[in-house]
Amino acid sequence: MTERMTQVAVVGAGLAGLVAATDLAARGAQVTVFEARDRVGGRTHGIEVTTGRWVDGGGAYLGDRHTDLLTLIGELGLKTTPTTMDGESRFAFGATNQTRPGRFPPLRAVPLGELFDLLDDLVRGVRPEAVWSSPQASTLDSQTAARWAEQNLRHPDARTFFPLFLGEMMAADPADVSVLHMAFYLRSGGGIRYLNAFESGAQQDRVDGGAHQMCQQLAAALGNRVRLTTPVRAIHQDRLGVVVYAGGQELRCDRVVVAVPPKLADAIDYRPALPVRRVTEHTAGGCAVKVHLVYPEPLWRAHGLSGWSVNSAGPLLSTVDDSPAGGGAGVLTGFVTGQEAYRFAALPYAQQRTAVIDQAARLFPELPSPIGFHLINWVREEYSRGCYAALFGPGDWARLGPHLTAPHGRVHWAGTETSTEYFGLMEGAVRSGHRAAAEIP
């Protein structure tokens, strides 16, 4: 064979980019992965809470339907561990805490059922493979989820619960997303029951030892083909191919896979220019801040508690037991999402820490002060610009949707936001990486 190896540049060393690079390398392409940060992993990020015990500062959960992710986990020799939910939950709706079996909040069931009935109708109406052509797409695309809630939710319990639900499911302030995007996201993730559930749902398991290990292992196998602290600023195409400008480097190649979130992809200088941008003025970043409170062990279990809580006032809107498997530490993970995350993300770190620790003390008065505290402010992460995923606002699906995966000449697109299946989740990222790699001849 005298045929020259195909040269491919991959932008972004998150799950999508590294999966694409690994597929391409396995097919004999010469790949170079450019990563802006000094680490790989993107929106997966491990935190070592005590020696040898890791928790997920970013993407964490998976379920049985996440088949490409499970295949990858298996291929890398990693294992999953169940997310534990045994014991009673705590709820802070109003002035007093309530402790109840199971995950159902102390709210009226019928209004919540009516909310889920309405959401399920919307979810069933979406065409996930071509969202913009769903029935009534233009109406649903023009309205925010906040406005929809004002018009459709009459009972105060449904109005209380809806933003908490949307925050948990998709890290969205209802004012930031169109009704069409909300319906698409919930559909893409497997429907409201699957996306909401721990057991038999999208939060059933975690990667034992942390989801960050997937990217670390993929990057280790690629070796010096991964270049850290090398942000890509321009991608210029000419008759001969593509030139990628990254850090002080220039790389001439045949194809490029851009595997970064839409806001970051949009900030790259393309020549010729993109026919349609990657975001609009209505596109928001997912608003999530993830907090870990570390204890010597999962002390709440001795009090019959699962660690699960839901709170109508912030900063933490929910907590969950994310203790590492195998003991050595107890970890309560707290989520600040939606509108609350914008407010909280803007506070100085010391104030964030105090607010969280004070809230945890009120919520779980039986627990001592935590021995460790970790906070990842995804809202302010320069090289993620939000988490879980980009939020499509009014009009975005009509404008951006048809172009999400359409190559721009020799430039291809990956990232969880380019996957109509499991959009916003690790599974979507992995699927997008395989798809983008397969597009390259």
Binding site: G102, V110, F116
Partner: protein, 72 residues
């Protein structure tokens, strides 16, 4: 007969067939989210508002029909 009506609601919400008076909603894969959808359907059909805790104590069509009868 509300046992048949409640069985019908269980079947639709769980997307399964063969529900009888003794079928346990939670054993068939029902969870709290789906339970609220049973209760909203019960409210629409019978005009009776039951709580989640009512449902946990009466998770079969037979038992739930008794609760509905005692409230209506």
């Amino acid at each position: 007969m509300s046992v048949d009506g409640v069985s019908d609601i269980f079947g639709k919400v769980l997307d399964v067939t063969g529900i009888n008076a003794e079928s346990d909603f939670f054993a068939l894969g029902g969870d709290s989210l789906l339970a609220t959808r049973v209760l909203s359907a019960v409210a629409r059909r019978y005009g009776v508002e039951l709580s989640f805790d009512d449902f946990v104590l009466a998770p079969t069509p037979g038992a739930l029909a008794d609760r509905i009868a005692s409230r209506s």
